[in-house]
Symmetry: C2
Amino acid sequence: MKWHDLTDDACPLARAMGVIGDRWTLLILRECFLGVRRFDSFQKRLGVTRHLLAERLKRLETMGLLERRPYQERPLRHEYRLTASGKEFAPVLLAMQDWAQRNLPSPVPTPFTFVTRDSGEKVDPVLTDRHSGAELNHRSVLMAPAAASHAQDAAKEPKDPESPSAAQAP
Amino acid sequence: MKWHDLTDDACPLARAMGVIGDRWTLLILRECFLGVRRFDSFQKRLGVTRHLLAERLKRLETMGLLERRPYQERPLRHEYRLTASGKEFAPVLLAMQDWAQRNLPSPVPTPFTFVTRDSGEKVDPVLTDRHSGAELNHRSVLMAPAAASHAQDAAKEPKDPESPSAAQAP
DNA sequence: AAAGTTAGTTCTAATTTAGAACCTATTATC
DNA sequence: GATAATAGGTTCTAAATTAGAACTAACTTT
């Protein structure tokens, strides 16, 4: 499989991996949320090679998460800013940070946290359903194939004792 | 930077990337949530090479997201199941799928969706604060360095005009 | 005039991934 | 009782990606 193939996969998660499916991209986004905007700042703070950084920034721009805009002329210099799409990624980052903090413990303290803009208090994130307000987790939610088009794929793998047409309870 | 270095980074997001920072791991987890448990099923459904699949499953086991357990003897066979830690990853997957669906559009329909276990209706995920119930997004939340230990790092990069000690408003 | 700043690009070497073939143990089929 | 089939891997070589360092370009500052 080639890298680029993921970006037009039918599965949204696969497409997402076409953007953040490497060691660096999510960390670049983290820096963006911390307010970093310039090439050299990203490079120094992350320790990523300039070569890769340039490529990743280009990809984030292509995928619409960042925009490159001039912040001065003579000499012409550009900075990278989160677009609306990039900003909407915040809940993913937050959910991931929360998961990692709970499930991948570390002896050293967390270097930064998510706080509310008004009170400055640390947030305690829960994913809920916008309509019902119910908490969304492995117990309340099920991942289900969207009938029609997926049925064909499923047919390729006949009567598997673990066929995933209805994921089992925890 | 070597791969393994991320797994004991101070930043939880970096540690998370030590687990899912590649093209395949998240897709393996997706399959787990769809109910897949066996080596060959993962391999056929994803098209990943057996070599990499074996490695990734091993890593997911090491990191505590999956457990390998026998489901038969003669011949001895093992299957992979989500652990509690793996199951708690569900909200991250959900948030990411939601983001990708909204921000990385595709001409083809989404092959599977998240539905509630009781009503079977498609969910509409929002990240909220457990305490206040407020929606958590780029407008309401700020990523802030956790004062003390980070202050030293910040000192290394003196008076940067874009110093990220207080991330700016959207 | 020399050195510094900022944002890259261009090389070579090392590491990772792809792709195919092979191995082991056991059960099913001819 | 030999031959295939199933399941879960491992072992190769070739291709692609990443690391690391050096270099360029267009200015500005000392």
